[in-house]
Every structure is written in C-alpha cells, then in structure tokens.
Amino acid sequence: MKATEIIMKNLLVILCAAAFLLALLASLSLGRYPIGLTDLARLVLPQLGLGGYVAPAPVEMQMVFWNIRVPRILMSIAVGSGISIAGVVFQALFRNPLAAPDILGVTAGSCFGAALSIMFFTRLALGVQGFAFIFGVFAVSIAYVIAARSWDRSASVLVITGIVVSAVFQAGLSILMYLADPYDQLTKIVFWIMGSFHVASWAKAQVTLPVVVIGSVLLGMFGWRLNIMTQSEEEALSMGVDVFRWRMFYVVISTLIVASSVAAVGAISWVGLIVPHIARYLAGTEHRRLIPAAAFVGGGFLLVMDTVARTVSASEIPISIITSLIGAPFLGYLVMRRRRNGCVDVG
C-alpha cells in the first residue's frame, strides 16, 4: 500500500514534468516563424558544443529563436512562477484562499505608473518599466503606511487600505485614459494594461529575472514560517512569531516580485489567484512543498497561456484576456465546490 502510494506520488511528479517539457518544446517550435524539432536540435546543440553532429540553422532562424523566442519563453515561465508564489504567500498572510497578490494595490499602481510614463515621460531612460515598478511599490507602501496608523494591526485593515489605494490609482488611471490621445497613447495604455509577452527581450529579462528569481527563492526558503502565519495572530504570536514584522517581510518580497513582473510585461490577471489552488491540489497546504509546486505549475501555466496568445490568431492576443477567460470560470468552479468548513482547499 505504502509503496504504491509512493509510486503514485512520483507518477504525478513525472507526469507534471513530462507535461511541462512537452509544453516547452511546443512553445519553442510554434509561432509565426515555425521551428521544427530537427531545427531545434540544429539551434541548441551547437550552443552545447555538439555542433559537429548537425548542420547549423539559418541565421534568420537563429535570430528569431535566440533573440525573440527564448527570452520570451524564459520571461513567461519566470513571471508565471513568481506571481504564483506571491499568490500563495498573500493567501497565507491574509488567511484567505481567495486573496490575490494585487489586493494591496501593486497592479493598480503599476498600471497608473505605466500610463503616466506613456503619456508624459516617453523620453526618459527609465521608461514605462521603471515607472510601472516604482508606482507599484509606491502604492503598496501607501497602503502599508495608512494601515500602520490604525490602532488595529490585523491583516484585514491592510486589505481595506489596499482597496482604498487601488481605487485611487484606478481613478487616476481613468483620468489619464480620458485625457490620452485616442489614436496613439490610449491604444498603447490599453494594450499595456492587458499585458503581453511580445515586449519581452533580453534587456527586460536581465532586469526582471534577478528580482523574480531571488525573491522566489527567498520566499521558498522562508516557507515553513508561512504555515504559522496562516494561524490567528494571537496563536502565531504565542508561538514566538512576530506576525507584524514577518508580514512586512513577506509583503515586501512578494510586492517586489509582482511589481517587477507587471512592469516588464503588463498586468496579468488571475494567475496569482488560481495557480495556488491547483498547486495545493497537487502538493497539499504545507508551504515548504507548496511553494515549489506553485512555481512549477505557475511557470507551466503561463508558458502555455502565452503560447496560445501568440499562435491562436494572426495578431497577438493580450495575455490577461486568456488568463481571465480560463481563470474566472475556474474560480466559479472552486466556489461551487467550496466545503462547509470554509476551505476551498481540495487537497
């Protein structure tokens, strides 16, 4: 019984890994410039010093593959993992399986910053990415500062201030969109808000990946403590965890991950909310195991979504349209099977 159980557990891991590899191969080869499997070998093997066995690929194909497709795929995996881990962390911190990483206003702030930059500061070196990042972090900081002024230090106050800050930045964004030139700026803003990986490049990857990867590894390392953060504040405090300080730690790192992701590729809705649920179904609630599972599932999920976004129609589909179309019905499904004890948890 035990042995078969272990095999079944490993079988799940093997199946997931196989699915991921398959998705990776499909994503590498599909696109407006199709690259067959033999071509893939001709592209990759020379880089590994095994070029003697195959004829090198045409230069044009090398350009498309190495400068456009690979950075894009790397970004989609990293951003998917990072946002999903941030989702796991936020759901734990706010003790609510329906929390998403943007509840403290990071996405609203980033969108406002991006629009501001698109309209007024197009010439600045910092660019849209820098503005979006700074305003995303700034929005969460305001939410934190307002919450710190309340006598009530519970997480629910932070949720309220997050809603307040989100609403203000959304209003600001609406003002900007109202003022924007509809033929040029408005289109840019709208497309940016809906997110897309077509803007991915090595330059962006160099800025984004370190933050996302280091942040994710840190959150994974400090994962066990998140178990305790899901207990009531009084319980966590009496077990020796300074809830308020640690909440700040987790929020800061998650916010940096989400802000740098959103700044690079625009808002990506729903991934941070639904991936943690799928990961919990696969790996259980213990955060030491859950965080790697969420990283894996999130990376694979966004990889597939982005491949769909760039192959399904002649023009690029914004990624949030696809993630919402899949994510929102999935949440509805979760609500329907929500258990009586209040857990959406299926694990």
Binding site: M239, D242, C343
Partner: protein, 260 residues
Amino acid sequence: MSVEIAGLTAGYGDVPVLHDVSLEIRQGRICALIGHNGSGKTTLMRCINGLIKAWKGMIRVAGRDISLMRRNDMARLISLVPQGGHSPFQFSSLEIVLMGGASRVKPWASPCASERRLAMEVCREVGVEGLAATPFNNLSGGQKQLVMLARALFQNAPVMLLDEPNSHLDFSNQHRTMGLMRRFVKERGVTALISLHDPNLALSYADDAVMLRQGRVVAAGPAGEVMDDAHLREAIGSNLMLDRTLSGARVVVPRDVAVK
C-alpha cells in the same frame, strides 16, 4: 517558574478592563481563573502573554519583566491553548502540532527529523497519535482541543495559558482535558493558568483559584478555601451555593435546585 502580577491595569482603546490586579501563580500548580463573561479573564491572559500592553503595573514570568522580552524568547516561557481553533487551510494535525516548535526553528528552516519525532511523542502522550495524518479541520471539537493541547505541550514552555479550553467540549472530553492537564502539571512542574466557566471543574482539578468580577480580583488562593458561598455569589451568580455529593465531593449548584 511562577507568574507575578503587581498592580496591573489594562484594557482596550481607552476603556479599562482590568483594575489594579495583583496575584501570584505558583509553579507546579493549576490555577483556575473564574468569572463572568466580560470579567477580564481573557484580557488577563492576553496581558500575561504580552499580546496587549499593561497601562500600569508589572508582570514578571520567572522573574523577568515580560514587557522587555522579544516574542521568540517569550514563546519559550509561555504557551497558549486557544479556544476551539480553526485553520483557514487544511493542515494535517501533525503539521499543526509542529508549529508549536517555531521558537526553536530558524526562520529560513523547517523542523528537523528530531523535532518531528518529538512532536509524534507528544501526540502519543496526549493520545492523538492516530490523528497525526488527519486534516485538522476534519476533527471533532474534542479532538481539535487535544491537538491544540499537544501543540502547546510541544512548545515546551514552563508556563501554560489555557483560555476556556472546555468551551466546545462535551462532558467527558472536559474531564479528559482537565485530567491530562493535571497530569502534565504534576509530571513536568508546569505552571498552568486555566480560565473556566464551570466552577465544578475548578473544584475538581485546580490547586488554586482566582475569582474575577468586573476586572477586579474578588478572591485568590487555594481553590478549596476561596471558593466558598460568598465568593461564588460575588464572582459568578447570586443564586449559587456549595453542596456535597453522597461521596463527599464538593459541588457548586444553583440554590433552587439544591433546596428542592
């Protein structure tokens, strides 16, 4: 390790709940905290646990002023058994118990194999080793309370606070929990403060009793001595009296029931 409280005044916002409370909870004894809802039992526990700050007065645990201690150090001195318990996520009971060891685990680490063995041992002592793999939220109220007790024992602090540990339990589980507590207090030399609604549990299991009324101490001392008719009436209800069962045990009963 005793708990000494001197001239404690505390409350919420600007409403005081405790007024000038002074008492000593002695090592190796169970002290029952008795009083109405709103008499300040939970507030007193929160003060001892450093969850709310004292406005005036001083609380010392093992001779150390708790207002100067860090949370991690405090968790090594004081553990809490909360009421009921509900987890928003499905953890196994063993994971819930393991959380009690947080003060011994580095923030970036997770419990090592010896911690897990120790946690299982504590589960065995409390009699929940069979539930270790069961999801915590699927347990009955009595089982949850035992797991919470196991977690506090696993924390291994010399002072234990139990906030109405019996409020969700049936009759036999109430006696089971109290019996277990009595055993641990005597075996391990733990100091336990237990708030109770039922004065009969205090009479049967507690060494000492502290009776609160509107945030003031009405009486404190050995349970058998201070829980007399006058103090019971003052702290819990005017219609109560002490009676004896046929075998000689003392019980608190409503006056009209006893006289009938």
